[in-house]
């Protein structure tokens, strides 16, 4: 047993050294591993949360696109392209005496404009990729259905995580647009209310003032929709008269965020001209 002392001491030193260095290595390596894992977990959670925020955002981008698109197309009488129409200051004529130019595909025109605005939002998205898709708008019994659908996927990609989700989004809004167009069609396309009023006025006295008074009686509020007439011109000739009227149909109950050189909330307005009368005087 003589030699056990120094050997034992050496073993003790080595073993204790190994144990302690093991403990410290465990601490440092463990710290590195845990930090790396934490970063990974944070990245995954961050990706999931970012994706969720964009899914909420897509609904809002769709709503803002609709607001702006509907605002712009309604101001141009329900048309997306006025190049082939008679117009004044980008407001089209819906009626020129017996000829009518009702935008029967107004909803497609609005959807087309909404689609191009939504495209701007889609491209503005940072971090999360929003795929290209289509906007569809449909009148349904309880409102206006706006649907963005795509065959692609929302995508978020980093070094540690790649996340995909369904981008399809649907909004159901109060359908004041249908009322605006249908009421306008009833009054100025199916019937020629302007001509009818000129006839009524001229049966009493065919004067500019009398016709103006009669036309004012067409102004009304109908199911939250206000119809205003801005009479631009009236010409009379004996027992005949003709009038050029700017019709403004306003959704009084809802305000939408729009940009018109300035961002603000406003009511949607449908604008179109009606030129009518008992004789082509204008």
């Amino acid at each position: 047993m003589k030699g056990i002392g120094p050997i034992a001491l050496a073993i003790i030193v080595v073993v204790v050294g190994l144990l302690l260095s093991g403990a410290f290595f465990n601490m440092f390596i463990g710290t590195t591993v845990i930090i790396r894992e934490t970063i990974k977990e944070k990245t995954v959670l961050n990706a999931v949360n970012k994706m969720e925020s964009i899914k909420i955002g897509v609904e809002h981008a769709l709503y803002y696109s609709f607001s702006q698109g509907a605002y712009e197309v309604l101001l141009t009488g329900g048309y997306d392209d006025l190049s082939t129409l008679r117009k004044e200051d980008d407001t089209p004529y819906w009626r020129v005496y017996d000829k009518t130019y009702y935008p029967a595909d107004y909803l497609e025109n609005i959807a087309s404009r909404v689609d191009s605005i939504f495209e701007e939002y889609r491209k503005a998205s940072v971090d999360v990729f929003i795929p290209d898709g289509e906007i569809e708008m449909t009148h349904i019994p309880n409102g206006l259905l706006i649907n963005f659908h795509s065959t692609g996927l929302l995508k978020y990609e980093t070094e540690f995580v790649r996340l995909y989700d369904n981008p399809n989004t649907t909004l159901i809004l109060k359908d004041s647009i249908k009322t605006m167009f249908e009421r306008s069609r009833e009054m100025f396309i199916d019937q020629d209310s302007i001509r009818d009023k000129i006839v009524e006025a001229c049966q009493v006295a065919c004067t500019v003032e009398n016709i103006r008074q009669e036309l004012k009686s067409l102004e009304q509020t109908y199911d939250g929709i206000e119809i205003q007439l801005d009479v631009k011109n009236i010409i009379t000739d004996g027992m005949d008269g003709a009038a050029l009227v700017l019709v403004i149909v306003r959704d009084k109950e809802n305000e939408y965020p729009v940009y018109d050189y300035l961002s603000h909330y406003t009511n949607l307005e449908l604008r179109f001209y009606v030129l009518s009368g008992t004789k082509q005087l204008i």
Partner: protein, 148 residues
């Protein structure tokens, strides 16, 4: 150096004692470092995740039949948020509830536009990109929630 016969049992005892202490130390160090890192890791993830979840929950909160917390913040430059006490109260109530804090602020790229508490929060941070009402100059902005 040569140790005498009488030292052998003492040496063995010493070896045993040192081994035992080293082993206990090893276990204690291991358990404490492991616990420390696990707790800090969980705390970090919990805090981080909570800030983002609190903000997401706020975004979904209904302000009225047509708008949410998201709308209020996204459209704040045109919806009169600065002068609207009802909106501000809504934001305060919802963020009190979701952050469980009375010290927080909302920040955009320019400034702090909403702050609660006489403090300067820094601990929990969550930033998200918000789509804003149409404006050809800008369609998206980053809003950050910071709370302690």
């Amino acid at each position: 150096m040569v140790l005498g016969k009488g030292f052998a049992p003492l040496t063995l005892l010493l070896i045993g004692v040192i081994f035992t202490i080293a082993l206990i130390l090893l276990v204690v160090v291991f358990v404490f470092t492991f616990r420390y890192h696990v707790v800090s890791n969980l705390q970090l993830i919990y805090n981080y995740n909570n800030a983002e979840l609190a903000f997401l929950t706020f975004m979904r909160s209904k302000f009225d039949t047509t708008s949410t917390g998201y709308d209020i913040l996204a459209a704040r430059k045109i919806n009169g948020f600065d002068g609207n006490d009802r909106m501000k109260l809504f934001v305060e109530e919802k963020l009190n509830m979701t952050t469980l804090s009375n010290c927080y602020k909302l920040v955009d790229s320019r400034s702090t536009f909403f702050k609660v508490g006489n403090c300067d929060p820094t601990e929990n941070v969550a930033s998200f990109m918000f789509f804003i009402p149409y404006n050809p100059d800008s369609l998206i902005e980053e809003i950050t929630l910071v709370y302690d």
